[in-house]
Amino acid sequence: MQAPATTIKMPRLRLSAGAMYRLGVASRGVAAIVGGYVLAALVTMLLSVSLPMARSEAVMTATLLSFTIYTCAVLWVFATGSALRAWLGLLIPSVVIAAILQWMGALSWSLA
């Protein structure tokens, strides 16, 4: 929308370096806790349906490993250069795995 010329020009929203840092940390926190969980859950699904062993054994193995995957995801989120990279690094593999699961007909949205 075009602002009427008479209004005082709004200063562009500029965050201080400190605020940017805080936002980055908060964003990474959400990425680590939520994004990390989603990625770990998806990897667990993929392993559960694809490991070459009895079905219950595959589920058991995958679920045992899930916390390791989660931990690695969290470490990566905080180790990488920027919050954006952290998000992309979680989202891209998540989308790829979700697509494979969808193609296999094994994607389930109910996590519980």
């Binding site: 079905r55 589920v59 989660y70 470490l75 996590l111 519980a112």
Partner: protein, 545 residues
């Protein structure tokens, strides 16, 4: 983050640890105490101390239990019998009765009755005072209290995940793990706390890592159900019956038939397993379709998954046996849970687990203190100029007092309440637990009001008096105090051991409080709230509860 890899991991270690450390400390303290769950329960029921703990064979105990149940549990739909072992001298009898028509449903355990019986005769043991005993501390460490268990388990799991991340990032941060194991520089303020944190963390590192991961594994299908959902198209029951196979339940026929004797079945099962029978459960006792299930006592191997055998309740014919061959991944899970609960532990190993648990408490506590000391150091200039400590620092310091010095007070109050509340009392267990949380809430609130060095001393002293005072209290309230158990050598060993352990923990707290003696008046103005900067105490100082 913006700096190098190691720095970002150090940052992650600090914050993932700090944010949940107070909950973790409670979980660690409760979990550590749970290694002696039965012993604590025994201590809290002095009426049972005198019960002759003459060990009898499983066959005799099973026969006695059967006679007792036939007499007392007529008309029950299910029987549950737990045979005695080295740590639980009494036979546990339990049964559930069908709810009478028209009767209001009393919840899941509403129609469940239980009692403790003499293993040799099956007679009811003199009814002990009601208490949740060690069971409360065990439940506390994953179900918390005053909230729904599911929520609590999610909270504890969330904190455990933080802990796992904190441990791994802590290891990455560490350059010289081996060297730090032998490094302790006392009386150097922040340095000393860092060393103490390193020593308690690194010394028992395999334990900390194991206990955190296996803790998550115990509830892994709650935390991470996606695998089972995906592989079984949402049919979780199908997964559980495949992963944890059990005999099919038979419906009661409605025709009365006498129950076969337990003893030969127990003999048969023990001969097959080469291990003792621990639990006997009977479905539809007295019915033509009754089923008797026996399961092996844990402790013969590391796994919590123990085989079971099902017999026809009338003929005694073996119907099925389960769980003798467990596939690899399932066995791995069983062993991981087994490692967490350590039922296999012989006394010495159990003691080692307990000590590692204490080291875990100390690790969490020193970590929390380290943050406060470091942050106070950073604000030293502002503080010297008369400014007040930042909100975060004040909050953390107060929470540290409330948790590190407060939890021992809560434990102490719980045990004191057990001895001092009237023996016969409505809702006695509830009142004991109320004392636990009441004392803790008081300690935590007072700490929030005045998070000072003096407060550390007051609360540590209170904890010391409460814990070290227990053996003394025992002299006045029971006949199985140290004077009898230790000097005359009579009475249950676990009770004596409990007294000695709380006594030493109390003395440790007293030592910590002593180390916090008031600073000389010159330094008083700049006195730090954390007990750290000037004087210092040893590694085990705060978290030992």
């Amino acid at each position: 983050m913006k700096e190098g890899f190691r720095q970002s991991m150090a940052w992650l270690h600090t914050w993932s640890g700090l944010l949940v450390c107070w909950v973790l400390l409670l979980v660690f303290c409760g979990g550590t105490a749970s290694y002696y769950r039965s012993e604590i329960t025994l201590w809290m029921q002095p009426e049972l101390h005198a019960a002759a703990a003459n060990p009898v064979s499983s066959e005799i105990a099973a026969s006695a239990a059967q006679a007792a149940m036939t007499e007392r549990a007529a008309g029950a739909t299910r029987w549950f019998i737990t045979l005695p072992d080295e740590r639980n001298p009494a036979t546990q009898l339990g049964w559930s009765k069908p709810s009478k028509p028209g009767e209001k449903k009393k919840g899941r355990r509403g129609n469940f009755h239980s009692e403790q019986a003499d293993p040799a005769t099956g007679e009811v043991l003199s009814k002990p005072r009601e208490t949740r005993g060690g069971e409360f501390l065990y439940r506390l460490h994953f179900d918390l209290h005053y909230m729904s268990a599911i929520w609590a388990r999610w909270i504890v799991g969330f904190c455990a995940m933080f802990m796992l991340v904190s441990i791994i990032s802590g290891i990455i941060t560490h350059k010289r793990i081996f060297k730090d194991l032998f490094t302790f520089r006392p009386k150097k303020g922040q340095r000393s706390w860092l060393d103490a944190h390193n020593v308690t963390a690194v010394l028992a590192l395999p334990f900390h890592l194991m206990i955190t991961y296996t803790g998550l594994v115990t509830l892994m299908f709650l935390y991470m159900p996606s695998g089972a959902t995906a592989a079984y198209q949402g049919d979780k029951d199908a997964f559980f019956s495949e992963a944890f196979p059990r005999a099919e339940e038979r419906k009661a026929a409605g025709v009365a038939a006498p129950l076969t004797a337990f003893a030969p079945l127990v003999r048969q099962a023990e001969a097959k397993w080469g291990g003792k029978v621990e639990r006997i459960s009977v479905n539809a006792p007295g019915d033509a379709n009754a089923t008797i299930s026996l399961s092996r006592a844990s402790g013969r191997d590391m796994s919590t998954r123990q085989p079971s055998m099902d017999f026809d309740g009338v003929t005694g014919k073996l119907l099925s046996s389960n769980g003798e061959v467990v596939p690899g991944a399932a066995a791995t899970q069983g062993v991981m849970i087994g490692l967490h609960v350590a039922h296999f532990g012989a006394p010495l190993l159990r003691a080692l687990f307990f000590l590692c648990g204490l080291a875990g408490c100390a690790m969490v506590a020193t970590g929390a203190l380290l943050w406060a000391v470091k942050t106070r150091q950073k604000q030293a200039k502002a503080l010297a100029a008369g400014k007040r400590a930042s909100f975060g620092l004040r909050l953390v310091e107060a929470l540290n007092i409330g948790a590190i010095a407060g939890i021992p007070i809560a434990f102490g109050a719980y045990f004191w309440a057990n001895r001092l509340l009237p023996v016969v009392m409505e809702e006695r267990p509830k009142e004991e637990i109320a004392c636990f949380f009441g004392a803790w809430a008081l300690a935590a609130i007072v700490a929030q009001l005045r998070p000072t060095r003096a407060m550390w001393r007051i609360e540590l002293t209170a904890g010391a008096i409460l814990l070290a005072g227990l053996p003394v209290l025992n002299v006045f309230t029971t006949d199985s105090h140290l004077g009898v158990t230790l000097f005359l050598g009579r009475g249950p060993v676990p009770v004596a051991a409990f007294d000695l352990v709380v006594l030493s923990l109390g003395l440790l707290l007293a030592y910590a409080a002593y180390k916090l003696k008031p600073l000389p008046s010159k330094a008083k103005k700049a006195a730090p709230a954390a007990p750290a900067a000037a004087t210092n105490s040893n590694t085990t100082l705060p978290g030992a509860a």
